[in-house]
Amino acid sequence: MKKEKLGKIFAAVQTPGRYTGSEYNAYKYKNERFRFLLCYPDDYKIGMSSLGYHTVGKIVSSHIDFAVERCFAPAPDMEKIMREEKISLFSLESKTPADKFDLLGFSVHHELSFTNMLNMLDLAGLHPMRAQRSHKDPPVIAGGPATVNPALLGEFADLMVVGEGEGIIPGLLDRFTSSGSKEEFLASAAELEGVFVSGKSSSVRITPYLKFDDSYVPCGQPVPCVSIPHDRINIEISRGCRGSCRFCQASVIYAPYRQKTPERILDIASASVASTGCDEIALTSLSATDHENIIEIMDDMHYAFRDLGVSVVMPSLRPEDFSGKFASGLSRIRRGGLTFAPETPSQRLKKIINKNIDNEKILEAARQASLRGWRKMKLYFMIGLPSETMEDIEEIGRFISRIKSETEMKNITVSLSAFNPQPHTPLQWVIPGDPEVLAEKERRIKKIVRGTVKGIDIQSHIISSILCRGDSGLGNVVYEAFREGARFDQWGEHFDYSAWERAFNKDGKDIMEYYFRDFSRLKELPWDSVETVAGKDYLEKSYRIVLKLIGERTGV
């Protein structure tokens, strides 16, 4: 595409920096044999905030035969121009049409980005449905957390890298370089551990990457040229979680718990600051303060970077961190808000979901943090949990009132989410909460909580819940939803429930029937093809405990 034409387009769209590809450290094509288009089916700002996305970029660009370029879902104003002017989806760096790449890789973090993935394929001139694409079209690979249910995603992607990509992608690229055709590549890829080839594979096992300390890290990643939500260096200091909350998919698919050494973490931080110049380092993990050397790491970071104006943030803190050995290290990290996810204040429900976060410890943390000058607090609660009653909901109001009266925390935000029975969790067999009851509970919380309450988009929850447990039979529905205009379904301002209703109707399916599907009656679940480290037996055992706990109360 000519510079003049691009200039005209950039001048006509919002935040054109998302499409220029002019960032420092942007990828460069150096005549490698093959070209890989790294696609993120959401906006630039979300994709560029993703550590997983940058890590895949690093892995692929480290392969001698592959050049990487990036591509994100175009925002609606950009899509409009592209469709009007018949501009094909193009890479950010060289503005090469997507279908000219040898491989297309999508980093799929959420099922609500499926329609964006389909839209990107369509804009690339490729059919969004796998079965409709020809052997001449480039293979479409999907990776990321959404692959843990390959049944539905496999209707769009040719193959999926399931689980942790570090150990799988290099071998997969090797197979591509030695294959003469798409068919040969797919057949050969199906032999690899961690790869699920749609229409060929019957099972796949999630294999943890045990060389976690040495794993690829995206030092030298492209530096975003527009502000993005997580504009920082993310360092994954540990993977997995020692907890085992029964609704949590991440703790199952990223098991077992592993950590990086303090030396390695400091090396990564130094190399990343020197190669990006970012002013913030986030120590990311499902539970960062579980790291046995966390205090040493905080001290190292503080002394290494304080003169460069680099601050350190920890997105996940536990209430006990505010009084235990970690408390002194808190002055080393940037003071933001205090954030915890108790999910519920009800002791009974905590037992059911196995979330061991004590209300008294949250209160103590709020006290300690307010003594240190923190004034903002955000608490995440999940509603629609199995056997939840209105009395459990009332407890949320009482708990917030206690925090307000017993501590100096005056600015409290309650953020709600609806329980979603995710695949590979012990609660995967539970039927999600009735949307009308969820709405009633939400209304009640808004009434009783003195403070800001961030509510739930219940319609988006319905679709998300259906898709994450979806089977191949829903492929056509997602395709129809895309044709009906569904895009950016994770974004409240873009989500269009009516597009989904039309899509279900067209396919002769009932949305609510799918939402209330009783998976406990099924012997085989759509995602049983994926074997996790914990295994289905463990999930079943844990689920039986839940049934017992619920039964104890209800006498069932």
Binding site: K3, L6, G7, F10, A11, P16, G17, T20, G21, S22, E23, Y24, A26, V223, C225, V226, S227, V273, A274, S275, T276, G277, C278, D279, D307, L308, G309, V310, S311, R334, R335
Partner: protein
């Protein structure tokens, strides 16, 4: 301003013309950090680099005269300056790095106006109003100076119908003359 400073003059060309002002300043700050510049930080719990820049350039305009001043603890070494100059994204280029000593006026105090070269699709119908001075009008282009008035330097689109603009380039800043300063 009492700090030791570096006055950075840089240009903005395609595709960086589509990057907003704050994002550009952040980019420059990052490139200084990549080169480990000894910059001065603000005090407080979340220290920031002490910087000031001239008012924002409109999105889509090219410029050869953008300025940013950053406070320093000491003068960066040649290698640090060299690294800073060469580690810019596409479309941003460092034209000069000048050390300004404590007590000297800041860039915003000495700027009197901007000079623009504008490619136009049709001749001007009416001459721009004061404080915009038309210096030259050639075939398909014009050069105007826009001078500071009431502390502000306005955008060319305030004086000329921007529908005739094909390309706008800020070519230089107009500074106070030395005599005037005294």
């Amino acid at each position: 301003m009492s700090d030791l400073r570096a006055r950075i003059r840089y240009s903005k060309e395609y595709p960086s013309v589509y990057i907003g002002h704050l994002d550009t300043v952040r980019e420059l700050e990052r490139s200084m950090r990549r080169a480990a510049w000894p910059f001065k930080l603000t005090s407080g719990f979340n220290p920031r680099v002490k910087m000031s820049s001239i008012p924002p350039l409109s999105l889509g305009y090219l410029s050869y005269a953008e300025y940013l001043e950053v406070s320093l603890n000491s003068i960066p070494g040649d290698c640090q300056i060299g690294e800073f100059e060469t580690s810019q994204p596409e479309g941003l280029e460092i034209i000069s790095v000048e050390i300004i000593y404590p007590g000297e006026e800041s860039i915003n105090d000495i700027i009197e106006g901007y000079r623009y070269r504008i490619e136009i699709s049709q001749p001007l119908e009416t001459k721009p109003d004061n404080p915009a001075v038309l210096r030259e009008e050639g075939k398909g282009f014009l050069v105007i100076d826009i001078l500071k008035k009431d502390g502000n330097i306005k955008n060319p689109a305030k004086f000329i119908d921007q529908r005739i603009f094909k390309k706008v380039v800020k070519t230089e800043c107009i500074f106070k003359s030395k005599e005037k300063k005294q």
